[in-house]
Symmetry: C2
Subunit: 234 residues, 2 copies
Amino acid sequence: MKHLHQRIRDDIEARIMSGEWPPGHRIPFEHELMAEYGCSRMTVNKVLSTLAANGLITRRRRAGSVVAQPSNQQAVLQIQDFAREAARAGTEYRFKILRRSIEPIDAAAAQRTGMRVGTKMLSLSTLHVMDDVPQAFEQRLINLATVPEADTEPFKDDPPGTWLLRRVPWTDAEHIVRAVNADGTLARRLQIQTGAACLVLERRTWQAGAFVTEARITYPGDRHQLVGRFSPVA
Amino acid sequence: MKHLHQRIRDDIEARIMSGEWPPGHRIPFEHELMAEYGCSRMTVNKVLSTLAANGLITRRRRAGSVVAQPSNQQAVLQIQDFAREAARAGTEYRFKILRRSIEPIDAAAAQRTGMRVGTKMLSLSTLHVMDDVPQAFEQRLINLATVPEADTEPFKDDPPGTWLLRRVPWTDAEHIVRAVNADGTLARRLQIQTGAACLVLERRTWQAGAFVTEARITYPGDRHQLVGRFSPVA
DNA sequence: GAGTGGTCTAGACCACAGC
DNA sequence: CTGTGGTCTAGACCACTCA
């Protein structure tokens, strides 16, 4: 192993992962690990702090460090960037803004986003198309108070999501995934059967408490899936 | 602010989040930050290492640290534990094992999980019910080579997923979320209309390369959604 | 009070990438 | 070669918490 703290971390992780140290098991104190590995306290402290940050162990003064109870299960899903996906697959991608308007936010959306009813939002409906096949329908609200430059942005080169991601950093996000049956309008737009199951991804983002954007992206259920690969350890 | 490294980190994060330091902007060198905050190099190093681990900055020797390009979008979704959810909502939860058998894995599942065709798996079909209303139908395979004690486990108190989570630590997971139309059998089990949109969550987990379990959980689309709240910064 | 983790220092040497 | 980050040391003081 290249670095000492890596070796220590791998050792401890292996013992946790193998079940040798089950949840609740007390991990050796820092001074014990110092002696075991013949290193300074800073080094073992760094290891244990990292493990705690990753949720593998919990630390308490006086009581020491113990193997953490397995956390609530969570799924981490990649949200595909259509342009990048298309480039990788060698297919042609384009998007079309179907509707663009500036509107006061309605009561339901105000509730969801924590805005005051009537706040001016840029509303965009976008169709994402790959090789002439509609892949997703996106309805998006952009808070003009937080992102005023969106007002004059033509969204010619990049679709709204990509443009926003590059421009506005975010601090909080909320995701909701649902399944719905396509109604007539949606079915026509996505060229699918009325009633076909669709995957709906809603994503709301804030920047330091200020609402940035809400996107509702609808994918044909038979054509798309959200995929994630995840390791609990960094 | 309580701690020095917290103050430094908050300062830098604020400048990145506000856009004052856009993606690509070079962050002061460690020795510059040492001088600015009047602290040791270890302290600023810890701050910058943390920021790098969180993906806010990228660091390169000689070149210094720069604000990272916004990462691929990803959604983090909580997978609800039915029992905990029910306890919180004050409703009654029970589950019913509809089918239990030990079977050799078929070709498709072997492909998905990286197992050899014919490996013995414990196969379970479970219905999750809250207040007498079916909430989800779960089909699960458990690798008896990795979890031999599952063979004799009656799954009386905890459903298979909860039991496994408490017992077997995992190192890798793969998630797939899809939308499907319910067929007749599924519709009858979940007491929904045939054709209704359902959310399907597939989750496969491995422990140090060894396959542990695959679960396919189907939720009625109108009754359930996956929700996640996420901040990029730890 | 005693023992733990949390933080911080003022050095040091090394690896690596760019000039 | 130079300057950067990566790692590590051998101390130190403090805060918290349990006995």
